[in-house]
């Protein structure tokens, strides 16, 4: 079938070419801008600490270290081994503290509680504290991602 009249005028066609072209030109900037505003982040593969600093750590005590930009916590467990946690609450990311008298981790932001193994037991936290693997390599403690 042959149409008697064009569906749109020459003016409308040219307007859409100009407008659409400008929009496409502007849109081509979005990608690079978005790329730029998200900085790269890589969690440390491992952190090495001098073992001597932690050897004297008594049972039921905690000592901190830097896990990238997050606080890490090393704790002497009841069986004498060292365990490590990322000391960040699973609820809304506040840094937690260990209360030796209660044998619990505590987050002051929204009153979240974890037991001495880092398992969430009361308040809003939805998950346990993240565990890290601790191994001894000569004079160093090597903290690695678990699993």
């Amino acid at each position: 079938m042959r149409l008697q009249h064009s569906l749109f005028s020459r003016r409308a066609f040219l307007n859409s070419i100009l407008g659409g072209g400008l929009a496409a030109f502007a849109a081509s900037f979005i990608g690079p801008v978005v790329k730029f505003i998200f900085p790269p982040y890589k969690e440390p593969d491992e952190v090495k600490l001098p073992a001597a600093d932690y050897n004297a750590l008594p049972a039921n005590e905690v000592k901190g270290f830097a896990w990238g930009s997050k606080p890490g916590l090393i704790k002497r467990a009841a069986d004498g081994s060292l365990v490590a946690f990322v000391g960040v609450c699973s609820h809304l990311d506040c840094n937690v503290t260990y209360l030796p008298a209660d044998r619990k981790f505590y987050c002051a932001c929204h009153k979240g509680w974890y037991d001495e193994n880092g398992v969430n037991i009361a308040g809003p936290p939805p998950a346990p504290l993240r565990r890290l693997a601790v191994t001894v390599d000569g004079e160093s403690l090597v903290i690695k991602k678990q699993g």
Binding site: I37, F38, P39, S69, A108, C109, P124, P126
Partner: protein, 352 residues
């Protein structure tokens, strides 16, 4: 002098402006008092701009210097403490009056047609004001501001799929760090001011285009309402209100200067008894009350969804409340009072 004025007038068309001021009339009725809230917000916005620029002369948005530069403003710079105190208190005053402005419009139902878009731009302005408060809170970089920012920027993480990206966008990375300070600073002093001027311009255009809203019962009456010329009668009264508010602001700013804790440490635990600014307290209490899981769904996600749904309902209120004078309108008023009471109750609870 006359000549200069005439020249200026010729170039700028100032006469139109003064004609506008003289012909604009403000209706008089039992709710006229709420009209003053709008201009009072502008007063505090002006104070924020002036004091904000002054503070930026000395403030350093870096992880090493942020806290120390605020300490320097408080202790070494002549009158620095009062400038920071005014900036901090004026933010509180501004948000308080924004909320009163919003409530007065909600309860007189001034959002009804043709002012739906005025209402919606107003709510956006509330969001921008809260964003100002949130970004400004981090800048002194003490333990409290770090913990509050960690929590606030972590909340979007609960949103499925895009949540992690939003958090990373806000923080400038995986965690709150020095990059977050620079990001919050430039947003606080550059991005948000541009946004607030744009939306405020549109908002004021709508206000002028549709004129002042009058209460339903006065609108229903046949005879014309009494009114007051904007210039000089209303302006004189407005100036009085401004002076009282400015006096109150100075008084609290002098006697209750904001504190400044030691510089935040990324590795130290959140301080006990942390609380956000008063206008976020109801959200804070909700997040605290929601258990970790509700019917198997992450409690945080539920809390965020409830708050987002509440905001959306308020945003589209003009389209829900289509018959304000009838039974449906009265039910909506009831729900609005209940929501208001709930928010106040949560806020008070969070302080106990």
């Amino acid at each position: 002098m006359q000549k200069i004025l005439a020249w200026l007038n010729d170039r700028l068309g100032l006469e139109a402006l003064s004609r506008f001021g003289m012909h604009k009339e403000v209706p008089r009725h039992s709710h006229t008092i709420w009209y003053y809230t709008g201009s009072s917000i502008i007063l505090f916005l002006g104070i924020q701009i002036v004091t904000g620029v002054m503070l930026a002369f000395y403030y350093n948005p870096t992880i090493k210097e942020a806290n120390a530069s605020v300490a320097r403003i408080m202790t070494e710079i002549p009158l620095g403490w009062i400038i920071r105190s005014i900036h901090s208190w004026s933010a509180t005053f501004m948000i308080a009056i924004v909320l009163i402005h919003l409530l007065s419009i909600a309860f007189t139902k001034a959002y009804r047609p043709p002012r739906e878009a005025t209402w919606m731009t107003g709510l956006l302005l509330l969001c921008v004001s809260l964003a100002f408060g949130f970004t400004g809170y981090l800048l002194p970089w003490d333990d409290l501001s770090l913990a509050a920012t960690k929590v606030g920027t972590d909340i979007p993480k609960a949103i499925p799929i895009v949540g992690k990206w939003v958090t990373s966008l806000l923080r400038g990375g995986e965690d709150v760090t020095g990059d977050t300070i620079s990001r919050f600073f430039i947003v606080h002093v550059c991005v948000l001011p541009l946004v607030i001027f744009l939306i405020l311009g549109i908002h004021l255009f709508f206000v002028q285009r549709h004129g002042m809203s009058v209460p339903l019962k006065d609108e229903a009456r046949k005879e014309k309402l009494r009114s007051l010329p904007f210039w000089p009668n209303f302006m004189l009264r407005e100036t009085g209100v401004w002076l009282v508010l400015f006096g109150s602001l100075l008084t609290v700013a002098v006697f209750l200067a904001p504190s400044l804790g030691p510089a935040a440490n990324l590795m130290s635990p959140a301080p006990p008894g942390i609380k956000p600014e008063w206008y976020f307290l109801f959200m804070f209490q909700m997040l605290k009350l929601f258990p970790s899981h509700i019917l198997g769904i992450n409690g945080e996600l539920v809390a965020v969804a409830v708050m987002a749904a509440g905001f959306l309902l308020v945003l589209i209120l003009p389209f829900l409340d289509t018959r304000p004078a009838e039974r449906k309108g009265r039910i909506i008023t009831g729900v609005a009072y209940a929501t208001f009471a709930y928010t106040i109750a949560l806020t008070i609870w969070s302080l106990l």
